[in-house]
Structure formats: structure tokens, C-alpha cells
Subunit: 247 residues, 4 copies
Amino acid sequence: MNDRFGWKTEQERGTGMLEELKKQVFEANMELPRRGLITYTWGNVSGIDRESGYFVIKPSGVDYDTMTADDMVVMDLEGNKIEGKYNPSCDTPTHIELFKAFKEVGGIVHTHSPWAAAWAQAEREIPCYGTTQADYYYGAVPCCRVLTEAEIKEGYEKNQGLAIVETFQGKNPLHLPGVVCAHHGPFTWGKDASEAVHNAVVLEEVAKMSAWTEMINPKVGPAPQYMLDKHFLRKHGENAYYGQQNQ
Amino acid sequence: MNDRFGWKTEQERGTGMLEELKKQVFEANMELPRRGLITYTWGNVSGIDRESGYFVIKPSGVDYDTMTADDMVVMDLEGNKIEGKYNPSCDTPTHIELFKAFKEVGGIVHTHSPWAAAWAQAEREIPCYGTTQADYYYGAVPCCRVLTEAEIKEGYEKNQGLAIVETFQGKNPLHLPGVVCAHHGPFTWGKDASEAVHNAVVLEEVAKMSAWTEMINPKVGPAPQYMLDKHFLRKHGENAYYGQQNQ
Amino acid sequence: MNDRFGWKTEQERGTGMLEELKKQVFEANMELPRRGLITYTWGNVSGIDRESGYFVIKPSGVDYDTMTADDMVVMDLEGNKIEGKYNPSCDTPTHIELFKAFKEVGGIVHTHSPWAAAWAQAEREIPCYGTTQADYYYGAVPCCRVLTEAEIKEGYEKNQGLAIVETFQGKNPLHLPGVVCAHHGPFTWGKDASEAVHNAVVLEEVAKMSAWTEMINPKVGPAPQYMLDKHFLRKHGENAYYGQQNQ
Amino acid sequence: MNDRFGWKTEQERGTGMLEELKKQVFEANMELPRRGLITYTWGNVSGIDRESGYFVIKPSGVDYDTMTADDMVVMDLEGNKIEGKYNPSCDTPTHIELFKAFKEVGGIVHTHSPWAAAWAQAEREIPCYGTTQADYYYGAVPCCRVLTEAEIKEGYEKNQGLAIVETFQGKNPLHLPGVVCAHHGPFTWGKDASEAVHNAVVLEEVAKMSAWTEMINPKVGPAPQYMLDKHFLRKHGENAYYGQQNQ
């Protein structure tokens, strides 16, 4: 228990802080096994409250079958635990670096979903072979370089976050809401935890389809840029006309 | 709401137009997730009433979990919304061109089912390697060419339909009830919405089997033409003897 | 209805002939969708009563959701329908040739299960790469040659059966209880309908594993013969010690 | 029934020996079909009570649908059945050799899970391409050599165990808790039956991901050693910080 922020009164009323966000992050975490993205506990989702600067993240190694919204851990961006009975995910320092660098991002997901992880293990970006990817990712999904020995030995998870940020120099993280980290696995994000999971599902699907595309035609090139423009922009941005937003 | 066709009285009685067709199209749309053809809302089915010239299509981006038959949108072949509270699928102009050119077709399906989409992304037709395909597709499933930049910038979805029609010059669309569109995904059709979905399921299955066939034997050729003739014609046409039709 | 064999009295008592066998064959057919071996109605199972010389087979193109044991069709080995309200599977003449040639066989299965069909489409026998296959198939699963144009035009399904019998010249069909037919799909069999389905499940599993084996190591050779001997013979034959038979 | 160990009194009270262990081993066996690792009865799990030197193992060829904890067989390390109405798994002699050589191991699993079996059939170790594997396997998963004809003819299952032990000369079996046996399939183990099954699930997952990795990039090399060190050691050993153990 931690009282330095004076929220004990809330606890005495039977509630902790950021209850709504904890529910959202819990639900987003539970979506990972439902969507077949994880084996055992190999994934974590976080969501941030930009006003307070606190974020909520899954506890480390807790079984999905028994996990509840109350088990979510509240952290600040310096890595201090603000609330929660469990240790946060050991990937928490990666989430922190991404939240700090990507100001528009409200939710982050890490999984070892197998097709995305296979591209990561293959040290390759995922080319944009078609509209399925272009509807969500405006181009190839980048591959983050392998960390150096020094980076891994000292502050591995934090350096993983910094290397992802480095990979996105000059890129809009909401236009490319994911990355595969060499010899590791994918991270995705979005405006909130739910959208970040959505993008993780899409990433796994397009990772699979891209591998199959190369299997069917090893010489194929990416979809033409003007096709990507059309598809990405009909779903995103001010002239979007997919869905019910312009009704 | 739209009263220019005077159907308000029907609505006052609690019914809209084409109720039976809306139910069929709704059911056909719901078959897509049941058959594993779509992720999220990545698909749409339509069905046409040739007498009135109106067709019914899925609304754009509406969640399958909450969608009802009443949410289906009624359109005419000029692209006017005749009835419905939602925007129609943004692929509606493609459906229109196919309904206009393929007079025998009563239902159309678009999905991003992954194996068919992989062939599309690979810019390859699907060779007819066996009887599974020949039972429904009388030869290779064509690959529709990439649209030009001009075609995509001006009326993308309409031009997608026109390019498919171009692909089927000299072909019987009911003998080859589907296509893969380069760097995009499949469209299938049939005499009604239900048969169009059936053909979408078959297409995904044979797309998968053809890829595996080439993986097992990269040098294999298509099945002999006389084998295709036999299989297609024992299920279709006046001498068909599959099923219970000749009893 | 058919009364030339005098079974009308049985029907008047509310039962047809071979009730037990019809139940077994019905159950074996229902196992095909449960085990994921078929899409729609792409499969059929039969079982024979060697005493009467009649066999029971699935009707053609009937939906698995509504099919009952009473819908099974009773046939004789000359191809006459003895009992049943539906047409038998259009692959019936193939079953007949196999029952006639393979005297120890009591049940036959045909499916388009995708991995086995991919080997069939690739015109390749399935090498015996390991003990999983050797536990049921004593060596490579043979590939039946493509039929000639004449064979397909005149009596296609019967000639398919004869070509399979030709493939098994000098082979024991119970030691190799299945075949892949070039550009078509698999047939399997066993001492009864249930074992035939079991062997169809095994065939699909080993077809998948063999393809993956070649993908992982394109230069791999089959398992050594002495390994096949051991595995096949520890489950089959008089010195078998797998399971509870020697207790 | 066997009374030479004097446990009849327990039986008279309605209980056998090692009741708790039989439940654990039964539960671990039932996890195999739940996790999709087995077809039919193609797997077995055992667990040992190091104090008595007795271990519990699945009976041979018994259907998972009807199997109960009471059907588990109690054996000693000389291969004598101590309790149980069924024959033990015919792989029992392999389990015995592993329990004898790997003193820290408390549970053993054998399956024919298809991706792990494909590597086995391909006669290849599974390279460590990333952190998913490194979290559980500290390096490549070894491939046990093909047995000789003499080894297979005389005491096949025992010699399989000895060959695995030979493969692990100089290796810590708890740091590499599994093996693929050439042209056969995988064995995994752990501190108890439950952990052994966990490691079997992980092995199948990484076997799949490694095959896909090579498909996407045939020239890729393994993850750097310093990355493996970090991932394995953050979950295992005294400085582990994954999960809730250091709270």
C-alpha cells in the first residue's frame, strides 16, 4: 500500500484510483487470449491517464483465468508503483519510454503473437503488400534493431523502449501503430488500450498474410504507394469515409 | 430517412421494404465470422432484388455482435440510399458495377480472408490444381490487375468493380464465381447472397490448398482439363448428378 | 421404396435393415466435421455387412446439421439401391470397387481434407518421415495416378476405384490403409467405418507433418525401415504390445 | 493387484497409494488435449515421488474422454507395476531412464505435437531465434540421434531414454527442458508433471515460430547469446525478476 498521494480515503470507500482506466486496461488484457494472441501470460497491455500522468498495466505473470480489474497496477512515468498489490509487468520500463516519447499514444500492447514474432525473429520489417495492412499501417511495419550487449545488460527493458523510439524518428506513431523488435516480438499502440489491442490483432493478421504472400510469390513487390494512400486515408484523417463517422 | 419512394407507410406499419432480402443478406453477413472468413468488420455481403433493381448491403464498420437485419441498407444501382439508418459499406460502388454487368448474379461478397488475400497480394491467379476447386470454379480463379493511380484517385471503388468486369470479358461469372484483386483481396458472387458466401468459403479453402500444393511440389501443373470438365459438370448444368436434384 | 428383397415387413415394424450398421456409418460420417476433416458436405463414409453383401453409405449432398441415421442409403455391390429415400454419394462406385477388391476392409472414407488433398494435388506419395505415420501406415502413403480422359469420361467414379486397386497391387491394404488420388483427394479405409475415419484423421495429421518436415529440412530422407518395422508392429500383428490387448 | 508392498490396507479404506500424485499426473495428461498437443491418445505424462522412488504414468491407449485419476498406473524405477488395473504407457522405459539420469526432474511428457515432431522428423535441433524460446530453453532445443537397428530391436523404449541422456551429456536438463527425437517426436520435462506439460506447450509454440522464422528469412541466425542470458535469467535463477517471486 502506498499513501504518499493521499488516496487512502478512496480506498476506505472501497475504491482505488483510476477505476475506469483499470477496467479498460483489464478488458484490453483479457482480449489477448480471446483473440488468440497469447500463450499463457505472454503479453501485457497498459493505458495512460495523460492528466495525472499515471498509467495502468497488467501485473507480471498473473494467470488470466483469475485476474481481475483490481489486480491492475498503477504506475507513474518515473517507474514508481502508485497502487497495486502485485509487481507490474517486467516490460513496464518499455511502456514508460513509449508513453514519454509518443504523446498521442494512450495504450500499449506487447505480445509474442507467433506470426509477428516470426518476422521479429527473422529481423525483417513487414512489407505492405496490400490494403489489409494499409487500412491500419501506413507502410511497412518497422523492425527495431537488436539491442547491444551493453543495452541489454544495463536497463534492458528501458533500452528496448528507447530503441523503438529511435526506430520511429521522423515517423508518426499513430500512422504506424506497431513495431517488431528483432529476435523478440511485437509492440503495438493506439489512442487507448482497446485500440492498441485492435492494432495487435491486425498486426498478427497482416504478418501472417505477408509471409503467405511471399510463399506464393517470392518476387512480389509492395502495393503501390497511391493504393496505400487511398486505403489509409479513407479510414483515417479528416476525409475518412469508412464507417459511420460522416453520417 | 428518405421518403422519395413513398415507403413511409410501410415503416409506419413497423416494416421496411425488402424485409425477406434484408434477412437473407443479414444472415449471409453473419456467416462470414462463423466461417472464419473475417477479422473484425473486414467484409460485406449484398443481395439484389432484380425486379425492383434495389439491393441490400451491410452497413459500413458496424460491429457483427450487435448488427441486426434492420441495420441492412437498401440501395439502388445508381448509388442512392433508398432505406437505412447507416451508411452502406464503402465498397458499395464495386457491388453496383458487378450487379450491373453480371445479370445472373444475385449476391456478392467481399472479404479479406487470409489465403485468398495472400494470392491477391502475390498478384497471382489461383491455378486449378484439383477437383476441390473444379467442383465450384471452372478453371483458375482470375487475378484482377492493379488499378492505375488515376483509377484509384477518382472513384476507386467504382473502378475496382469495372476492372473486375474487364477481367471477366469472355468468361461466365457463374462458372468462375470469384476473383482475387491484386494487392487487395477477394470478391465472390452467386445466384444469391447465401451462395456467394458459400463460394467465398470455397475460395478460401482452395486458396489454402493451392499454396500448400506448390509448397509440396513447386513444379506441379494444373489438373487436366477433362478432369475439370467432369467435376464441374457433375455438379452444375443439366446433366448434374451430385446431390439430390435428379432423384 | 424398394421391395424386391422383401424387407417391407421390417419397415412395417418401424425399422429398416442393417439398423446397427446405419447407426455406425452415420456416427462415422458425423465424426468428419467434428474432426475438422470436411468443409460443407465434402466427404462420405460407408460400412459393409459382409454377410449380406450390402453396404451403407452417406446420401449425396445432404447437410450434416439435419442428417440422421435413417438418411443413410443401403446399396448392394452391383450398385443397386436396396433401401433409402436419398441418392447415395456420387462416389459410391469407387466404394464398390474398393469393397470388392479389399476383402478385409469393412469401412471406407473419402474427404477433401486439405493437407492430404494438397499431396494429392501435388501428385506425390507421402513419405514416411517418422513414427507418427509408421504407427498406422507401414511406409509411404501411395499416390494413385491421374485417370486417363477415357477413364474419366466413361464411369469416372468406378474407374477411380479400379485405379486405386491397381495402385495397391502387391500391397496389403490394411497395412497401408489410405491413398491420395492425384489432383483429387484422399480415400482411407479400415476394418469398419469407425477405423476408416480414424485412419483419415491420422492421414491428415501426417500429411501436415510431412509437409512441415520438408519445409524445415528439404533434404531429409524417410525414417529407417527398422524404425517403421518396430513402430508398426508394436501396434499391429500378433506381438503388438501397445494399448491394453496383452493384459 | 499387487500386495508385495503392503498397501492393501489403504485399498481396503478405498484409497490407493500416491493419490495426490495420481491426481496431478491425471490433470497434466488431460491438459494435453486441452492445449491441442495430441491427436487421439498420442501422448503420455508421468510424475515421480522421489521419496518412495515410485512414479505415476498414464495407461497405454486409454481414451481421454473416459480416463480418471484412478486409471493412472504406479510403477517403480525397475519397471515393476506397483498399482493399477491397466498396462502403463509403452513409453514407460523411456520415462524410467530419464527419471534415473535427471535427478532434478519430477515430471516427463511425450507427445507427437506436430511442429515439434516436424523438427524431429527433419532431424534438426530447434535454433534459438528469440526471447520466446529463451524464456524457457537456454539455447537450441537438442535433436536426439536416430537409434541404431540393434538399439531399436532390443529394448527400443529403454534405448530411446538412454540416447536422450547421452544427448544431454554436459547439459543441465532443467535449463533445456526438452528434446526432439529424430524421426519420432518430442519429450519434455520439468520439476513436476504440470511444469513438464507447460514446457511441452512452449516447445510446440517455439517449434512453430522457428519454422516460420526460417520461412520468412532463410539466412537468419540465432539470437545473440547475451540476449538469451538476459531472458532466461530474468525468469530463472536467483536474480529472477519476472512474475511475483520477488515481491
